[in-house]
Amino acid sequence: MPYWSPLALLALVLGVVITHLAVPSTRGWMWMVAGGLGMLALVALIYLGLVWAPPEAFMSDVGRILYVHVPYIWMCMLAFTINVGCAIAYLMKKSWRTDALAEASAEVGVLFGAGGVLMGSIWARPTWGVWWDWDPRLIATTVMLLSYVGYLAFRSFTEDPERRATWSAAVSILGYVSLPIVWFSVRWWNSLHQVQSTTQTLDSAMRIVMWWGTVTMLFFLFVFIVKRYEIARSRQSSALELPPEAARQEVAA
């Protein structure tokens, strides 16, 4: 398995995403391409992760869950970063597309995040002996996840669409800003209490599989966000796109 294969896969993903964005006519089916490729990559990942990669020295076979857990967390963070980017963009220039993308990325992010934290917990039990720990990454991810669950709840409780878009952008920014602070404060607390952070030393084969897993999940992140974005857009049009002229015609008819 050549060391550059995850890079080749990454090139594929980027190609798909860029084509989708740059060439509007492909948007109807590009997600299917991505989904198909993703499935193939996933099958490969299952083989690579369960069979090809050597068992990790310290964690043995349990460590294999990391090949999915770590990519999930990466996708979660990427999705949330897209969300906060949309929040800032929306506050600078109002656009229903930006709001739809914000909604989609938040939901998909929570999905991946919840999965990631769950898997992390499953991994932690046999490894550390506990379901939970004071790890900065764990705490920071959980706080972010809670913030975004709050974000989604807030969106569902705010009825006026314009207000929902503006206010949830504010919630998103306030929540995201906490990430570096949480990370730093927990890490500092641990250093004071001489808690060793669990650094995994991965050999090159395992590293390849980790990267392959991350890129595989990128396909799925793309598909989920695209589809959820479409749902958000169609909900918007059914609630909003009624111009005054059409209303007049309806009344006259």
């Binding site: 909003l240 009624l242 005054p244 209303a247 007049r248």
Partner: protein, 217 residues
């Protein structure tokens, strides 16, 4: 600029959820003229007045006051515009005097003490100046709101059903007040169901039905 209209609505629309409260409304109020705004409840009068006051902004289109667009110039325009509406902007647990003093200080006026006293006398509330607004009747609250408007001495006065909750003496006093504002050079936009009073106080009329301008029947 003598030709700049006091108020110009350029194809404005305002949406609440799925409903358009104002649809594609355009209107121009020449300088020096006062406007009567009529229409049933729910026709969009209050929404329109709120937009003109810069409390809110149109979903589409622009509103210009004295030649300046509301969204971009709200900081400049707000000192010159005053809104008297159903919501009286008062703090229930502060006294009438404290509410007015707060407003005066926020507006940057001097001689707050004497000014507030004089205005309370003017609206007939001197005796109750130091009672919390919570204890006031609807009519009394309205009078505090009127005093607040007078404090501001606005160039554009927006009055949403100012005669509501007033007795005949109060109505006469309100009419006098409106004429006084006009004498001071203010433009008045008056929304009311009392058509006769309204017509006698204004020179132009805008009638709304379901958020659109219609010819009154």
């Amino acid at each position: 600029m003598p030709d700049t209209p006091a108020l110009e609505l350029r194809d404005i629309s305002k949406r609440f959820g799925a409903r358009w409260a104002i649809s594609r409304l355009s209107y121009r109020l020449p300088p020096g003229r006062s406007l009567l705004l009529t229409g049933h409840n729910g026709s969009g009068k209050t929404t329109l007045l709120r937009m003109i006051s810069t409390a809110t902004f149109p979903t589409h289109g622009n509103i210009e006051l004295f030649g300046r667009e509301t969204r971009a110039h709200r900081a400049e325009l707000r000192p010159q515009v005053a809104l008297l509406s159903h919501a009286n902007f008062l703090y229930e647990d502060l006294t009438a005097s404290q509410n007015l003093a707060l407003a005066a200080r926020l507006m940057g006026l001097d001689g707050v003490g004497p000014r507030v006293k004089e205005l309370l006398e003017r609206v007939g509330l001197s005796a109750r100046a130091h009672n919390p607004v919570r204890q006031f009747s609807a009519g009394m609250r309205k009078r505090v709101a009127i005093a607040r408007l007078l404090l501001k001495a606005p160039k554009l006065a927006l009055l949403d059903e100012p005669f509501g909750e007033l007795d005949p003496a109060g109505i006469a006093q309100m009419e006098g007040l409106i004429r006084e504002l006009q004498a001071q050079g203010a433009t008045v936009v008056l929304a009311t169901h009392l058509i006769d009073q309204g017509l006698s106080l204004t020179q132009e009329r805008l009638h709304l039905e379901q958020g659109r301008q219609e010819v009154p029947k």
